[in-house]
């Protein structure tokens, strides 16, 4: 997918002007509420007409004020998964799923209905009305409906923000598997850095109705670490839990982590804030923290008034943060050997 976007819209005194070119399959749009993300989505989908500019997708002009082009939404083949699962309340789950599919040209119908139903785990729901579905089920139907319309670009506009934390991270594997299996490029719009890092390779940062240069989600998270109350969030994929003394011992690459908030599922994803990691030069003794991990400093970076310390722990990486004086006192630089001290209760399970 190749997108060139240089267009804007004015709302009285507030001007929204976006200018970016992006190619790739997993693009993120990151911004706080009111930053202009929804305006951008509206202009991309054809639901909002820019005042001026040009938008092209894979070389085809979707909008050009100069050439008088404005392709209507039904002909753009850009499907949207909205923040709230906007299912048609008078139709069954199956009819909702097939709404876009039936309006697609037969030669463009490359996605098999049965396969999609299987991937999204919707078999038992097809005959049901949509009003009694749970939030997660509704969003899966909404996603399936958009995918079955066989779009050349999928816009996911904060698709998880209406879900609670538990459901949020249950839906991510579906979002990922749908895009991977059906090869549909997407724009993932969110104000959550964690979601960005799970869903996007490149990120367009939107703020005050404008966008900054492209970055990666990880670079963005590192740059914001020193300014964020939650620091840098490490995302740790762990597996094969064993119960030990009321805790769960997970394999994390070739390391082991003792975590309090575990369960018996074979695989899990935990978040760990850079603020919750203490660095020591020597092996600490008689300490309450359950995780003492020997690691090597792979890299350091500055973010605000903090030093980010990228730690190589066996074959895994994580980021801790320290203040400047601590970094100096411990002599932290690439290659330094340290111990990371982490409490078992510092991990938060995401999915």
């Amino acid at each position: 997918m190749e997108m060139k976007f240089k267009a804007g819209k004015n709302y009285g005194d507030v001007a929204m002007d976006f200018d970016f070119a992006v190619s790739g399959e997993r693009v993120g749009v990151f911004g706080e509420s009111g930053s202009g993300k929804s305006t951008l989505v509206g202009m991309l989908a054809g639901l909002l007409q820019p005042d001026q500019g040009e938008i092209t997708l894979d070389g085809e002009s979707l909008f050009s004020s100069e050439r008088g082009i404005n392709i209507p939404p039904e002909r753009r083949r850009i499907a949207v998964v909205f923040q709230q699962p906007t299912l048609f309340p008078h139709l069954s789950v199956e009819s909702n799923l097939l709404y876009g599919f039936r309006r697609t040209l037969p030669e463009q119908r490359t996605i098999d209905f049965a396969t999609l139903v299987d991937v999204l785990n919707l078999e038992g729901l097809l005959e049901r009305g949509v009003n009694n579905l749970s939030g997660g089920e509704k969003q899966r139907v909404s996603l399936g409906r958009a995918v079955l319309a066989n779009p050349r670009l999928l816009l996911m506009d904060e698709p998880m923000s209406a879900l609670d934390d538990n459901l949020k991270f249950q839906i991510i594997p579906y979002l990922k598997s749908v895009s991977e299996q059906f090869k549909i490029p997407y724009f993932f719009i969110s104000h959550s850095l964690v979601e960005m890092r799970l869903m996007a390779d490149q990120v367009i940062v939107v703020s005050g109705g404008r966008n900054a240069a492209l970055t990666t989600a990880d670079q963005l998270a590192r740059a914001r670490m020193g300014h964020s109350p939650v620091g840098y969030i490490n995302l740790l994929k762990v597996k094969t839990p064993r119960r030990i003394d009321g805790l769960f011992a997970y394999s994390w690459g070739n390391q082991e982590l003792l975590i309090s908030a575990g369960n018996d599922q074979a695989e899990a994803l935990f978040e760990l804030s850079s603020k919750d990691i203490i660095l020591c030069k020597r092996h600490p003794e008689a300490i309450s923290a359950r995780n003492l991990i020997a690691c090597t400093v792979a890299n350091t970076f500055v973010s605000g008034n903090r030093i980010g310390v990228e730690l190589a722990c066996g074959d895994q990486l994580m980021v801790a943060e320290v203040v400047e004086s601590a970094a100096e006192e411990l002599g932290i630089r690439s290659g330094s050997e340290l111990f990371a001290v982490i409490k078992a209760v510092a991990f938060r399970r995401l999915g």
Partner: protein, 227 residues
Amino acid sequence: MLTFTPADYEAIGLSVKVAITATILSLPLGFLLSYILTYGVFRGKLLLEVLINLPLTLPPVVIGYFLLILLGRHGWLGGMLEAVGIRIIFTWKAAVIASAVVGFPLLVRSMRIGMESIDRQLIHASRTLGAHWYDTLLTIILPLSTRGIIAGSSLMFARSLGEFGATIIVAGNIPGVTQTIPLAIYEYAASPGSETMALSLCVVSVLLSLVVLIFHEVMGAKLVRRS
């Protein structure tokens, strides 16, 4: 004891026929105008809105008089229709037109309220899934406006049953031809000794109104349960 003459039965039948015809004929235009007023952005929207609602504030007699000017034998439209052999004035068709004009704002208002309650994102979703505007209109907006359509139709039907002022001017009060229930009651009320007849038609009027209101409530409750 209720007493009815053959002319009363004709008046009851005609009232129902006029109200049903006026409501059915007004539905497509009412739906289209409700759609335009709800979703359209254009110059002159306010003027259109005022024109549609004007019959709500005008005395029905004034509406009847305007219709007489328009549809009379020498009227702008009546003259043209007369030339091709169609006569409107002082026929039951004139009563239908009078009822339609008077009840139309009620129909449009209710339909509009129904349409305004539809989540715009459903419409956006439909468009991005490949539906043209008319496809969205038929497959999303129309079914989701059902409550508004039923409410509007019931109100208009009830208003048509009670229409008097415009009808008497444009259709007259001809027993068996244009005499509806209100016109028959008016005639009985003006004739000494016809109180029982007048009261009998009043009872019929009340019963018809009750049926319409109960239908409205039952259908509304059914739709609420379904959604």
